[in-house]
């Protein structure tokens, strides 16, 4: 990425407090490689023109990486803040300013001599903003979200880039599921359509590879029950089945509960109904922490703040 940014969350504290960050804006025509793409900051895609703000005075003479969201590699974590996109010549979705818990990512230089006035003000504001985040909670990263498979499909369709569907996609599946995949644009699209709601990873050694750190598996149990693994209705269905008559569906449901309800919050007495009544509004499903239902860090932050206020 270069010295520019776009899609800025201009009303956020990092652009307004204590300094008002002002930028010189340049209207640019949307590049072809942004067409038909969306990102966390452009859920409807970029318009025919878009506005660029300079954080640095000129393009750096070197490589300046940005974190890449690619529509959900990690942005499924509650409380994650997307605050600006870096200007990338590869594709949309490269976040240059973002926060997760106590961590803020700054994707530009910090050298005041190289920053614009707006860039300097934003950097000072970021320090002020983060000074108040000592108690902010988040959850650990375990694996990429299933959206990376979808991205390979999109990349192939929009850019003609074939290695995504021919090499990276099958390479990202556990061996047993590679046989179900046809390495072509059409094959990728068909596979995603059929299997993506039941894909998971992050549970065992089989899900970690050398070249592709995250390897995906399809959950045959969830698929047989017709219960996409990240839907609340599926969790409720498993709980209902778990309390029912012994049989294949009950066994599948119990395996799904074991597979997707984080061990830290599982009921010790196996009373799933009572557990769900207590946890319903406190839990969330997150791919990137290992495909778990777990306590929502934003809810935990709120509960801790309330407890602190009571003291």
């Amino acid at each position: 990425m270069d010295h520019l940014g776009h899609g800025l969350a201009l009303e956020h504290d990092i652009f307004t407090r204590p300094l008002k960050a002002t930028f010189e804006w340049v209207d640019e025509k949307r590049p072809p490689y942004y067409e038909n793409l969306t990102s966390p900051l452009y859920p409807e895609g970029v318009g025919e023109t878009y506005r660029l703000a300079a954080f640095e005075k000129s393009k750096p003479a070197g490589w300046n990486p940005t974190i890449v969201s690619h529509e959900g590699f990690f942005t499924d974590i509650p409380g994650f803040e997307n605050l600006a996109e870096g200007h990338s010549e590869k594709m949309l979705g490269s976040l240059s300013l973002a926060r997760q818990g106590r961590y803020f990512y700054w994707g530009y230089t910090t050298d005041p001599d190289l920053l614009t006035e707006g860039g300097r003000a934003t950097l000072v504001n970021v320090v002020h903003y983060m000074a108040g985040k000592r108690d902010s909670l988040t959850v650990p990263f375990v694996c990429k979200t299933r959206k990376s498979l979808w991205v390979f499909t999109i990349l192939g369709r929009e850019t003609g880039y074939r290695r995504g569907v021919e090499e990276h996609f099958p390479g990202s599946l556990v061996p047993g599921w590679r046989d179900t995949y046809t390495p072509s644009f059409e094959g990728a699209e068909a596979w995603v359509k059929k299997h993506l709601p039941y894909v998971f990873s992050g549970k065992a050694e089989i899900h970690r590879g050398e070249r592709y750190k995250t390897l995906y598996e399809v959950d045959a149990d969830a698929m047989a029950l017709g219960t996409p693994n990240n839907e609340r209705a599926s969790l409720e269905r498993w709980i209902e089945l778990a309390r029912g008559e012994p049989g294949e569906n009950r066994d599948r449901a119990l395996r799904c509960l074991e597979r997707y309800v984080h061990p830290d919050i599982r009921p010790a007495d196996e009373d799933w109904k009572d557990w769900y009544a207590r946890q319903r509004d406190r839990i969330v499903f997150i791919d990137s922490t290992g495909f778990w239902w777990q306590e929502n860090p934003v809810v935990l932050e709120r509960e801790r703040a309330a407890a602190k206020a009571e003291r």
Partner: protein, 242 residues
């Protein structure tokens, strides 16, 4: 206007809770269709306004009434240090409850802040004559934010960062990736883990950056080294970069 006065008291209470110094707002006419409260730190003046139903102020000149203006007085020990921050308003009108924020910097030796707020209050049919209220009070000390700047080596670049932060009331200690400790990180309010462009840091810095202590202090992770250390800390948001 009783309900507006109640709102003003609630807002004043909020200012105390946030650790800011409450300020006195005077010369607001009894029948003014708005309530105003104000508070400040040495770095920022915050004015909270609550409009009566159907009434508004102007954020900018849209051919209606005089836009709101907030300025410190010449004899104030704290003076404006930047543009007034107003809420976004598509039609230029400010309705309901909102805040105005003015960055401050020290000017005099004392702690007294005096400022004036100029505005016109209008409803759909009429505008009241322009009003000016005075905001004044003494500003208490707010502890400076302590920043730990972690770099590959202390050099002119790190000096420039320290100078920028000092200009804005931040106190910075410089250390290196080779020598940084958990105790030093924990003792600061923010850790700024700096990075030059890819492979322009001292050789071996990447290997040191991924070992940055897992502190409870908030971390601003910069550039390439930032992506590496955040990933090493088990945080999702650098699971890929280009």
């Amino acid at each position: 206007m009783n309900s507006l006065r109640l709102i003003a008291l609630v807002l004043l209470g909020a200012a105390h809770a946030a650790g800011q110094s409450p300020l006195t707002v005077s010369e607001l006419p009894e029948d003014a269709p708005l309530a105003i409260s104000a508070s400040a730190t040495p770095r920022e003046l915050v004015v909270r306004i609550s409009m009566a139903p159907d009434w508004h102020l102007y954020a900018r000149d849209v051919g209606g009434g005089q836009p709101v203006a907030l300025a410190t007085s010449k004899d104030s020990d704290l003076v404006g240090a930047g543009a007034l921050v107003l809420p976004e308003s598509a039609d230029g009108k400010l309705r309901g409850s909102f805040e105005l924020r003015l960055p401050l910097k020290k000017s005099g030796a004392g702690r007294v802040l005096t400022a004036s707020l100029d505005f016109m209050a209008c409803d759909p049919l009429e505008c009241r004559p322009p009003m000016t209220v005075t905001i004044a009070g003494e500003i208490g000390d707010v502890p400076k934010i302590e920043v730990l700047l972690v770099v590959d080596q202390a050099d002119d670049r790190s000096k420039r960062i320290v100078a920028l932060f000092a200009e804005h009331g931040l106190r910075t200690t410089v250390t290196t990736y080779a020598t940084v400790t958990l105790e030093a990180c924990d003792a600061h309010d923010v850790v700024l883990a700096d990075s030059k462009l890819f492979r322009q840091d001292l050789p071996g810095t990447r290997q040191l950056a991924v070992k940055l202590p897992k502190t409870g202090t908030p971390i601003v992770a910069v550039g390439f080294l930032g992506t590496e250390l955040v990933e090493a800390h088990g945080i999702a948001m650098t699971s890929g970069y280009i």
